[in-house]
């Protein structure tokens, strides 16, 4: 068999495997377009032959505030994460602080702590301080998912910045802060993008903290919007799935615009370059 035919066969197998893997995503789209009265039909319609946008209309009617809240929480989480993680990453990479090794270990361990345990601890604290059901309380809680990851990405990246670049800035008379702000940060664009993307996505997707700390607030995120739909007695699955489709948009945008950052984030550190 010649190589071209083999290559084509591989492509066909690859397409089939991808179709199989993404079937649930297709099914979500299909159900989101299925009219409510056809929902329990047997056999189910495998294609949206009679598409309806009722589901998406319910998203517009019910879910816009939730989507807005999630957007705000996501952006807030990114800002907080960058503020904490970028300077700390620079310090660990370049300034050799005392106890840097211990701090690195602490960050690793922090990433292993189950979310429910953190949620329970936060619940007690937020109850004392009256922070339950606030959106910015949720920003703080969500940022704990991203900060350890962020510090490590920044540390790894900033260790790789050529020393001459920093030395040159020093010779020009810039102090450490100035060097960090005008040389190191602009050069670290890739790390900034990776940390921001994941910070946003995790905050956007968070369910544990939201359900524990913001179950009864005025401003609740989209994950709770979907959860509330599921809990309704008359489960309208086209509305649930339409909301799910809309809630997946950031993930899709991320994949299209920033695929290489995503792959970099997944493998960062897990495999040594």
């Amino acid at each position: 068999m010649n190589t071209r035919a083999r290559g084509r066969r591989h492509t066909i197998v690859g397409l089939l495997l991808t179709a199989l893997m993404l079937f649930p995503v297709y099914w979500m789209l299909n159900v989101s377009l299925t009219p409510q009265q056809d929902m329990r039909r047997n056999p189910p319609d495998l294609f949206p032959l009679h598409p309806t946008f009722e589901g998406y209309r319910s998203v517009l009617d019910d879910q816009l505030p939730y989507l807005g809240t999630s957007l705000v929480i996501g952006l807030g989480t990114v800002v907080l994460t960058l503020l904490i993680a970028a300077p700390a990453g620079y310090c660990l990479a370049r300034l050799r602080p005392r106890g840097g090794g211990a701090l690195g270990l602490a960050l690793l361990i922090a990433q292993m702590i189950p979310g429910i345990v953190m949620a329970m601890g936060f619940y007690g604290i937020f109850l004392d301080l009256g922070l339950l059901n606030t959106w910015w309380g949720l920003v703080v809680a969500d940022s704990t998912i991203a900060v350890p990851f962020g510090v490590m990405i920044f540390t790894a990246f900033m260790s790789g910045i050529p020393g001459e670049l920093i030395a040159a800035s020093r010779i020009d008379g810039a102090g450490t802060f100035r060097t960090f702000w005008s040389i190191v940060l602009p050069v670290s664009r890739n790390a900034l993008v990776t940390v921001s993307l994941f910070g946003f996505l995790w905050a956007w997707s968070d369910f544990v903290f939201a359900n524990t700390l913001d179950g009864g607030g005025d401003l609740r995120p989209i994950t709770l919007g979907i959860y509330k739909y599921i809990g309704n007695n008359n489960q309208e699955w086209n509305a649930i799935m339409a909301t799910a489709v809309v809630a997946s948009v950031p993930a899709a945008v991320l994949l299209v615009l920033a695929q290489r950052y995503v792959a970099a984030g997944v493998t960062a550190g897990a495999v040594k370059d």
């Binding site: 893997m21 929902m39 007690g124 956007w204």
Partner: protein, 328 residues
């Protein structure tokens, strides 16, 4: 497995200490060199201080609160008032004696190990397949990331509907093979299997990406040499790919272990640990105790959570050891 990527900081390189120069100056006066060093140390502190304060306030303190919860006899009233009596190991003992404990531990282990085994084998197979660089392979590999990027509530609710016993598409496909409808989420025999299947689906991309990048680091000459020697596909995999991928495999599996142990969202959204306790794990049981009922049992809930931390840390430290050895 729904893990987020984990990274190793490279901040722990051994610091080279320069011996302090002998100070000859009088008391209270610092030499210029020493003053400079002190200043740079203060600058370093200024950069890392926010992180240290952050970790103390938002990691250490919540964990301390959780530990405190697990060692006191809390009721709803005393939870608000904050005057619950100290009760030592009572909560832990209560949890260990609870009839739910053994099943929850067993489900956690089954969930974790079965998920990881399938994720790894499927991920490895796909990584080897995509490593052949055919047309569209890059695009298709990117599309494989989607399940991992979707919010868990999206994946969980989609699978819930697909697993619906009357109108679910899974039972519809099975009927072509002559299989009677299965009560995936409603039957105690199948609930755990259902959440494991959904979890495998979510975790495959992570395994694929890491193992694929591990494959990239295997020198092409090895494959060329094997081809010259006439090795077939299976021999190449057994003698070259798999052995050389072992370190990356170890990292992938251990990371998967740490992450899968703490999976909560997926199970909670799909089954809430039910029906009965048939799909409850330590994570969902802990949440069930603390928040799942009208009469919350915060103490026992926190005790289960701490137990989960201990298990996760045991595997986590093993992971760090393996990783350190690889980097050394």
């Amino acid at each position: 497995m729904t893990g987020r990527p984990m990274t190793i900081a490279r901040a722990d390189r051994p610091r080279r200490r320069t011996p302090a120069p002998v100070q000859a100056s009088g008391a209270g006066r610092l030499s210029p060199q020493r003053r400079l060093r002190r200043r740079s140390r203060l600058t370093a502190l200024a950069f890392v201080a926010p992180l240290i304060a952050y970790l103390a306030a938002f990691y250490v303190y919540p964990l301390y609160r959780n530990l405190d919860l697990s060692l006191r006899d809390y009721t709803v009233r005393s939870f608000v008032a904050g005057d619950a009596p100290f009760s030592g190991w009572d909560n832990v003992r209560k949890v260990l004696d609870d009839p739910t404990f053994a099943p929850a531990l067993r489900h956690t282990m089954v969930f974790t190990f079965v998920s990881i085994a399938f994720q790894y084998v499927i991920g490895l197979g796909l990584a080897v397949f995509f490593n052949r660089h055919f047309r569209l392979s890059g695009v298709l590999r990117a599309l494989f990331l989607i399940p991992w990027l979707l919010p868990l509530i999206v994946s969980a609710s989609t699978w819930s509907w697909m697993f619906n016993s009357e109108s679910g598409v899974v039972n519809y496909f099975l009927h072509f093979f002559g299989v009677d409808p299965v009560g995936w989420l409603t039957s105690p025999d199948w609930a755990l299997t259902s959440v494991i299947i959904a979890n495998i689906w979510i975790g495959i991309p992570f395994n694929l990406v890491i193992l694929y990048s591990g494959l990239q680091n295997i020198p092409a000459e090895l494959y060329e040499a094997a081809a010259l020697d006439g090795a077939n596909t299976w021999q190449v995999f057994r003698r070259i790919t798999f052995p050389l991928l072992r370190p990356v495999s170890a990292i992938t599996l251990l990371l998967g272990l740490v992450y899968t142990l703490k999976v909560f969202d997926l199970i909670w959204i799909m089954t809430k640990g039910g029906p009965g306790d048939s799909s409850s794990t330590l994570a969902t049981w802990s949440y069930q105790l603390g928040f799942g009922t009208l009469l919350p049992k915060f103490g026992p809930g926190a005790a289960v959570g701490n137990l989960l931390i201990l298990i996760a840390l045991a595997f986590g430290l093993l992971h760090i050891r393996v990783q350190r050895r690889l980097e050394a």
